[in-house]
Symmetry: C2
Subunit: 211 residues, 2 copies
């Protein structure tokens, strides 16, 4: 049975799930969510797809999962891939939680405010504040990657595929790979994995005209 992933190209949270499905070799296909025309805010989506009003959502038969970290956990269980060793499960969860809170959580919002709101509605104080918070997150990740190739253990895991969720996008949000050499090299390592795809090549875009 082909897994359906409700997603759209601009969502780094959806990318985490899509990239995990792809690199684990699962049979999946995207179902486009028209986020920028309000689909996730509508009552149909909240009633039928996800009461949290978020993408991604994964459906396989009777299994319906939301939150990228939960979908990643499911893929690890189904395939035995990308989950590290059994003694690494909790360290992987640590980085996924950190990413959801401090890295992707804030990067996704900042990128949205800077690129997908009309220019006259972009809140400069919020953007500046968020960029400061994000700088602290980049520092933590760059320092961690200074002495290792992957976030946990000796191989790629879902912790890497979570933390990289927003870091390949071309739209500016205050993150410049040149400022963070260890993150930069790690992003190259992920992109060199067999089957890796850029988010805009893996999922349909809402705003293909945007860049």
């Amino acid at each position: 049975m082909t897994i359906k992933l409700y997603c759209f190209g601009e969502s780094g949270n959806a990318y985490k799930a899509a990239l995990t499905l792809e690199l684990a070799g699962m049979d999946w296909e995207p179902t486009f969510v028209d986020f920028f025309n309000g689909e996730t805010r509508g009552s149909d989506y909240r009633t039928d797809i996800n009461p949290m009003g978020e993408a991604p959502v994964m459906v396989e038969g009777d299994v319906r999962l939301t939150q990228s970290g939960v979908i990643q956990d499911y893929v690890v269980e189904r395939t035995g891939r990308l989950g590290g060793g059994t003694d690494q499960r909790r360290e992987i969860l640590r980085w996924i939680l950190w990413d959801n809170h401090k890295l992707s959580g804030q990067a996704g919002m900042t990128r949205f405010l800077m690129n997908f709101l009309p220019e006259d509605k972009r809140p400069a104080e919020v953007i500046g504040f968020m960029q400061g918070r994000l700088k602290a997150a980049y520092e933590v990740l760059d320092a961690h990657l200074g002495s290792r190739d992957w976030i946990v253990g000796d191989d790629v895991t879902i912790a890497d595929l979570s933390c990289c969720g927003y870091l390949y996008y071309p739209e500016p949000f205050g993150f410049d790979r040149a400022d963070w050499p260890n993150i930069d090299a790690w992003l190259d390592r992920i992109a060199a994995l067999p089957g890796w795809k850029h988010p805009y090549d893996l999922m349909p875009r809402s705003k293909p005209e945007a860049g």
Copy 2:
């Protein structure tokens, strides 16, 4: 062996871990982290305690864990309590991830900006923006609790103890229990559990003078 929890009373993230340890009946004690005097930002803390520069941190012998959700997961495994049924593990993780991103992640920051920064340094635009984002999170949680007593299944789990992390504090951050009757009743249910304590009764405070 007594578990040490690096924490401070004002941290709702630490409260999630402390309340989980307490309600699961574990032998633990707080180790005070002087957050407001910069302890978590110092190089000693980052080198010796947590490179992420965050509280809480739990230490039991050779085991050192950070991220409240990871500590909660450990307590469930050690005690068999507060983890729901085996078929509920992923739904619990879903709500903990949502909480870290959308509820506690944003509530903690907003409360900090509104109460623990000097009055002339409080960024009004950021606070207003965050309160709007938080309102959407309260709506999701209140609707979910409209038809059930606990977030997952028929009993209290670590999902409840995660989502309530910032909701008992007296300092204003735009959350008024009277506006959210289902959240209000659920907070009363948690507070009625044997052994429940308010964060300021469970952990030492950095700023006991503040209210």
